[in-house]
């Protein structure tokens, strides 16, 4: 189809002011937060309601034009990069919180709303929406549903899929369907809500979601512990869980991250420590007090060289500087930053960190690792310069070792960032040919013309 005709058709559906097609505007939607993926779309369209999305999909399906749903474009797996040209479907006009149902603790939210805005909206009612990815202040709800985002509280509170209870979805052929709803228990039919959650825009366009909210915990206790060996840190993590305590957060920083943060921030971190653990338990004040003591005991038993308890919320912020600044400081080292999210069973944490450290040494690349120790979701962060071809080859070799290592330990390629294009080459390694075929069959059933975010997640189909 001629580009001019496509643009004219889109203007008919959403109005002239909601269609962008200058070369400059198209370029601004050619990338997301993933290094090295720039592809020019043909048009950027901002629909204002579900009927317009349906009309766009009908047209695109008929003419076999690729469609890429996009929110804030902050994902780390090239999930919104318009790989094969076509239509970037900008969902940011879906910007309303439609309803807050306090009897059912459900928020009805359009997908263009920024996640932090949902939290700000429900906070006065003593509620929280727990998924809190690092991009909580910028990411759109739709993006976090498509990528099934996690965050710091994953261990205790789960991830996005645990809070999405219903969806409004426009299928590839333009049909509008509703999955799930306000029912806590709902076993009527396939669990389509879970299928679309984490589908990375390859199965349908999500326009609205019913989100489960939970009461804000009454009390917290935070602490930081320093370890001289990775084994001790890893054992402490396992022992805390074995003691039947589920901390709200349990974060780890490796030596490379600690040194980088200290170099930039000069906050007095122990640069010779093998790892730092940051922990927080939350809930009823009595239980928090009890769990705090038990955690301290476990930390001591596992040879924590130093443990500091947060005395106040400000003191906690100060203690957590190391974690908060880990990515920014690593990113400042070099121009390009790959934040990976390979995840292993918690018990394999130490082994995995050793694989990462060895890969960094073997291929002479800079990797700092931090992440969510409680759920085994690590962020090996590789800093490099995309413009240096030779270095990039070494980076990819190191990545290969890391991903293979994670899968061999019974882990997964991605804990929370999604597959997109970045981790596609390793998908079969994790899922096998049969697993990939099953996923491809689902894709072909729902999107027979392969127009929805083509080439991503399961690759060519």
């Amino acid at each position: 189809m001629e580009k001019d005709q496509l643009i004219a058709e889109m203007k008919k559906i959403v109005g002239e002011e909601n269609v962008l097609h200058s070369k400059e505007a198209l370029y601004a939607y050619s990338y997301d937060a993933t290094p090295g993926h720039i592809y020019m779309p043909d048009v950027v369209v901002s629909p204002g309601n579900v009927q317009e999305v349906s009309a766009i999909m009908k047209f695109a399906n008929e003419h076999k034009i690729p469609v890429y749903p996009r929110g804030s474009g902050t994902n780390l797996s090239a999930g919104t990069a318009p790989l094969k040209g076509g239509i970037v479907l900008l969902m940011l006009r879906f910007n309303k919180i439609l309803d807050l149902d306090l009897e059912n603790l459900i928020a009805e939210v359009e997908v263009g709303v920024v996640v932090q805005d949902i939290n700000d909206y429900v906070a006065p009612h003593g509620l929280i929406y727990p998924p809190d990815p690092g991009t909580v202040k910028t990411a759109s709800l739709g993006g976090t549903i498509c990528e099934n985002s996690g965050g710091l509280r994953g261990l205790k509170y789960g991830i996005t899929k645990n809070y999405v209870q219903g969806l409004e979805v426009v299928l590839a052929n333009g049909d509008i369907i509703h999955t799930g709803g306000k029912n806590v228990k709902d076993v009527s039919g396939y669990d389509m809500t879970k299928l679309f959650t984490g589908s990375e825009g390859t199965l349908g366009i999500i326009t609205k979601a019913y989100l489960k909210l939970v009461p804000k915990p009454e009390a917290q206790a935070s602490m930081i512990a320093v370890f001289n060996t990775l084994e001790d840190a890893g054992n402490a993590v396992s022992d805390i869980i074995a003691a039947k305590i589920i901390p709200a957060t349990m974060e780890i920083l490796d030596n490379s991250s600690i040194r980088t943060v200290e170099d930039f921030m000069h906050v007095g971190l122990p640069t010779d420590a093998a790892a730092i653990l940051l922990l927080e338990v939350d809930g009823h004040p009595v239980i928090v007090a009890d769990e705090k003591e038990k955690v301290l005991e476990v930390l001591k038993k596992n040879n924590a060289a130093e443990v500091t308890l947060a005395k106040s919320p400000e003191h906690k912020e100060q203690l957590w500087t190391a974690r908060r600044m880990a990515l920014p400081c690593l990113a400042k080292l070099r121009p390009t930053t790959f934040v990976e999210d390979a995840t292993v069973p918690r018990s394999k944490l130490t082994q995995f960190l050793k694989i990462v450290t060895k890969a960094a040494k073997d291929y002479n690349v800079t990797i700092g690792t931090f992440g969510h120790a409680g759920d085994g979701n690590m962020h090996p962060t590789i800093v490099c310069d995309l413009r240096d071809k030779e270095e990039m080859e070494r980076v990819h070799k190191a990545m290969d070792v890391i991903f293979r290592g994670a899968v061999e330990l019974g882990g997964t390629l991605s804990g929370e960032h999604g597959i997109g294009l970045g981790k596609l080459p390793w998908m079969e390694l994790q899922h096998g040919k049969e697993g990939m075929n099953a996923m491809k069959a689902i894709k072909r059933a729902l999107d027979p013309n392969l127009i929805l975010n083509p080439g991503k997640l399961i690759g060519e189909c």
Binding site: A28, L92, N95, T135, K137, P328
Partner: protein
């Protein structure tokens, strides 16, 4: 046609204009964190409105994928230079400065746009600039109508480039510097303080300038008002017309070098920032940069100066009002002066200080940005006005005449009761009330 210039050649030429910031641009990791704070992105939610988008576009020019077009120019223009992106960038990328480089490249490639060309040629001719603005003030009553109690006016006639309903500042019938001798003597001066007035205070908000002079006198300082001082150059610099801005900087350096003074004070965050940045503006000319540094070492924002050198608090009269404060972008993220104006306001007896939500968020003015993008800057301003309204304050203080003008407009449009002042005006008023006791 062997002489025809090809698109490829244009792209190649455009790319050379940004060559030296290749590394600085590459440091942006495209995380998109700048979306969270950008006042313009918050309204438009368009990728090219935010720093990440603009940096990507500049990289596209560098790699020859795009050329410098009118569209590129208009995208680069969508920035308030409020520095929120730079202040929150995890990679430490100074996107605001890079965007100015993008604007600079645009002028190199495409020339200045016609309106700016007219305004800047006026600015480059100081005597003519002074005459025009002075004449404008003398006949201001013909063209503008007063809004009672707000020190604001509405235009009676359609003005080119300005929304007819916009409340603006009146041009003073006599500019500030024409009202005073070049040196205002006091007995046994504590310090000799030169006052860099800036254009808006000299030609429009003379009440702010008078307050600065009164407060300096009250505290035993001799005030020097160099008559030949000129615009600080900020409006020109942020347009990317670096060469002209540098000429203006050199002029001001020469003028202030002529006076023996201990300090140079300004009452506008943007002007003060410019004076402090002259060494950086002129870094390619080491001799000038050194002279600029000598000047910069003496520069203080007025509240900074007062807190640093001490000011009288034993003779202050009570102002029984509630006040809230807006932190102008170039005060909070430019020169990092936020505590001193608060300290001054809190020292005034009777004055009840209430902090507003998002007090350091841009009001949407962005100097000339609000002229070219009035509707957008009003949307940003409305949010500021909401936050002001929630404080129930009588007064709003802002250490920047441009913010004062823009917030006053927002208050008028939203039919709110507040009046906007510079903090120093309330201090001057308090001294005055103290004498009436």
């Amino acid at each position: 046609m062997a002489n025809e210039i090809t698109a490829e050649e244009i792209n190649k030429h455009d790319a050379t204009l940004l060559k030296d910031i290749d590394d600085a641009l590459a440091n942006c990791m495209k995380c998109g964190n700048c979306q969270a704070g950008c006042p313009i992105y918050r309204e438009t939610r368009k990728e090219f409105s935010v720093a990440r988008g603009k940096i990507s576009l500049m990289q596209a020019i560098l790699s020859g994928k795009l050329e410098i077009t009118k569209e590129f120019d208009s995208m680069m223009a969508q920035c308030l230079t409020c520095k929120t992106c730079a202040a929150n960038c995890p990679c430490g990328v100074k996107a605001d400065e890079l965007i100015l480089r993008g604007r600079h490249a645009t002028i190199k490639a495409r020339g200045l746009n016609p309106i700016k060309k007219t305004v800047f040629s006026l600015l480059s001719n100081r005597p003519l600039f002074n005459t025009v603005l002075r004449m404008g003030g003398m006949f201001g009553w013909l063209t503008f109508k007063d809004i009672p109690d707000k020190n604001a006016v509405l235009s009676r006639l359609p003005m080119p480039g300005m929304d007819p309903n916009r409340a603006t500042a009146p041009l003073a019938s006599t500019p500030l510097r024409a009202e005073y001798p070049p040196v205002i003597k006091v007995d046994n001066p504590r310090y000799k303080v030169a006052f860099f007035t800036g254009c808006t205070i000299n030609f429009m908000y003379t009440d702010m300038g008078k307050a600065v002079i009164e407060v300096l006198k009250e505290n035993g300082h001799e005030v020097i008002l160099p008559g030949a001082q000129h615009c600080c150059g900020t409006p020109v610099h942020v347009s990317g017309a670096f060469e002209l801005a540098n000429e203006m900087a050199k002029h001001n350096i020469e003028v202030f070098e002529r006076y023996e003074c201990d300090y140079i004070v300004g009452a506008c965050g943007s002007c003060v920032e410019a004076l402090l940045d002259y060494p950086k503006w002129l870094e390619d000319e080491p001799d000038w940069a050194a002279r600029a540094q000598n000047i910069a070492d003496k520069v203080r924002e007025i509240s900074q100066f007062l807190v640093e050198t001490g000011y009288k608090t034993d003779n202050l009269g009570a102002i029984n009002k509630t006040v809230t404060m807006h932190d102008p972008c170039h005060m909070v993220r430019g020169i990092h002066v936020t505590e001193q104006p608060r300290e001054i306001l809190k020292s005034i007896p009777g004055l009840n200080f209430v902090e507003m939500k998002e007090h350091d968020r841009c009001c949407g003015s962005g100097g000339s940005f609000s002229l070219a993008h009035y509707e957008l800057s009003r949307q940003i301003n409305d949010r500021k006005c909401e936050n002001i309204k929630a404080t129930n304050a009588d007064y709003v203080c802002a250490s920047c005449p441009s913010c004062r003008m823009h917030i006053t407009d927002g208050i008028v449009q939203n039919k709110m009761p507040q009046v906007v002042y510079h903090p120093i005006q309330l201090l001057a008023e308090s001294y005055k009330l103290g004498k009436q006791k």
